[in-house]
Amino acid sequence: MLGPVLETLIGGLLTGVLYALVALGFVLIFKASGVFNFAQGAMVLFAALSVARLSEMMPLVVAVALSVVIMIVLAYAIEFLVLRRLVNQEGIILFMATLGIAYFLEGFGETVWGSNIYKINLGIPKEPMFFFESVFPGGLLIDREEVAAAVGCAVLVAALAIFFQVTRVGRALRAVADDHQAAQSVGIPLNTIWLIVWAVSGIVAIAAGMVWGSKLGVQFSISLVALKALPVLILGGLTSIPGAIVGGLIIGAGEKLAEVLLGPLLVRWFDLAGGGIENWFAYMLALVFLLFRPQGLFGERIIERI
């Protein structure tokens, strides 16, 4: 019994790393601009599309490097054409702007790269491997590519965490997040900060898009992965980088375990069909958090003087 549960747990955690990566893109932009970036999913799709199509013409490494350039240019375009014009506007207006960016990117991605299902080959063998055969009878069956992806993502996340927590950019970021005008008044260049976070979010989107794309193929449905990041954000707190990571892991592992453990119980006790738990578990967990801990695990407490 222990073996399969552990397998599920590990599989879930690896998926969780991906959720964390997408959530991280949200958190960075939300922290810096107070904007809930609806376009994060579309950015993942766009990034995955460019990596997939470019890698057909050139080695993967070059394709990724070129995609990084593309995402930075995209960040610059978004900053220059949209955000710069909307400085000091209400959050809802910026949110609507990202909604527009999302649909533009989804369509534009199709215009530039085409609308078929494309493959990304990371060059890692896909067949699962057995680990810990000496510890468990039969060992643990784990997807090798997922392990590699998880390690890669972990390194990326650690690097970003250091960049934003330790450096002065981090303090500037928090300042901008708290009050645009006040930040400008002390000489923090709002536009530069926004450019940095959108570019970094774009790079994070490349990582997420590559892993998802390699698992599922690069197609429109990748942009829906952003929806899975929402419960992660509620769990971890909208403004917390560690929260996005821990929240992602909890959701990833939780939904897989719920599917495997809770499903059979529902079948036995209530004679339900028992499937589909993976689809709603994350959102139920998010609802519970909204009721009892709305700031999330690591989010900043909202202190309001009355």
């Binding site: 450096t167 002065r168 303090r171 009050d179 000489g187 923090i188 709002l190």
Partner: protein
């Protein structure tokens, strides 16, 4: 605390001049053809009834609003509009009507944020936190502690500002502006919502900043007693138009000003 960096402009000469500035939002004309100047070392008050365009004028000076017409000359450099970064870089600091602090941060971090433009070391140094970057952080921290002492807020330096009472928040905000070692300090209603004791404290700080560091100050204030006591010269706006400009005594006797404040029988 060290005096602000010396600029080439001597005390009493014009530091900033506003010429024929007009600003409108759609059909609303917030400022109409206003001209006035601010001399180095003085305390300049901008007063007027509600909706006179006072805050809009501050926003024009530090670049939040870009006027449709007119010229702004700061430190001898003339331009049609200011940008917030250029204003901050050029030595213009400000506070806000409704305290605009970084609410999630401590009082200390808020004031440290005021040092943003004074920090020179690159990102890599910051990341490593060694050598010159560490020294720099220490130097800046030292300056900030001096400001904290000056404003008598030692006890609250680690407290998240959102928890502080309003009067102290205003003081922290002043501290953040002072941390920029500005040549021109813009104060938007520094005494609003304060009790008498807090007002007296704030007046004292403003006078000290002006006296000891020679910082030029432009302030908006509704409390006439405060304005008359503190300021060297007063400009009066009403419905976006300048209706008077002069010493507190001159302005007090000006018939236009009396009409604007008390209303006039038509």
């Amino acid at each position: 605390m060290r005096a602000p960096a010396d600029s080439d402009i001597a005390a009493g000469e014009i530091l900033l001049s506003i010429e024929n500035v007009s600003l409108s939002f759609g059909g609303v004309r917030a400022i109409r053809d206003v001209s006035f100047d601010i001399k180095k070392g003085e305390v300049r008050a901008i007063i007027g009834p509600n909706g006179a365009g006072k805050t809009s004028m501050l926003n024009v000076i530090n670049g939040f609003y870009q006027p449709q017409q007119g010229r702004i000359t700061f430190k001898g450099e003339t331009r049609t509009k200011m940008r917030p970064y250029d204003a901050a870089h050029g030595g213009i600091a400000r506070t806000f009507q409704n305290v605009a602090l970084f609410k999630g941060m401590s009082a200390l971090d808020n004031i440290m944020a005021g040092r943003t433009l004074k920090m020179r070391r690159g990102l890599l140094w910051q990341l490593l936190r060694i050598g010159p970057a560490l020294n720099e952080e220490i130097v800046h921290r030292h300056r900030v502690e001096e400001i904290i002492d000056f404003l008598e807020i030692q006890a609250i330096r680690k407290v998240p500002v959102a928890r502080l009472p309003y009067g102290l928040q205003k003081r922290v905000e002043l501290g953040r502006a002072l941390a920029m070692e500005p040549d021109l300090l813009l104060l938007d209603e520094p005494m609003a919502g304060m009790n008498l004791e807090e007002k007296e404290d704030m007046s004292r700080f403003i006078i000290d900043v002006n006296d000891h560091f020679g910082t030029t100050i432009a302030l908006i204030e509704h409390d006439m007693g405060v304005v008359m006591d503190l300021s060297d010269r007063v400009v009066v706006l009403d419905h976006g138009v300048k209706i008077a400009d002069g010493t507190p005594d001159e302005v007090k006797r000006n018939q236009n000003v009396i009409d604007a404040y008390l209303g006039v029988a038509h």
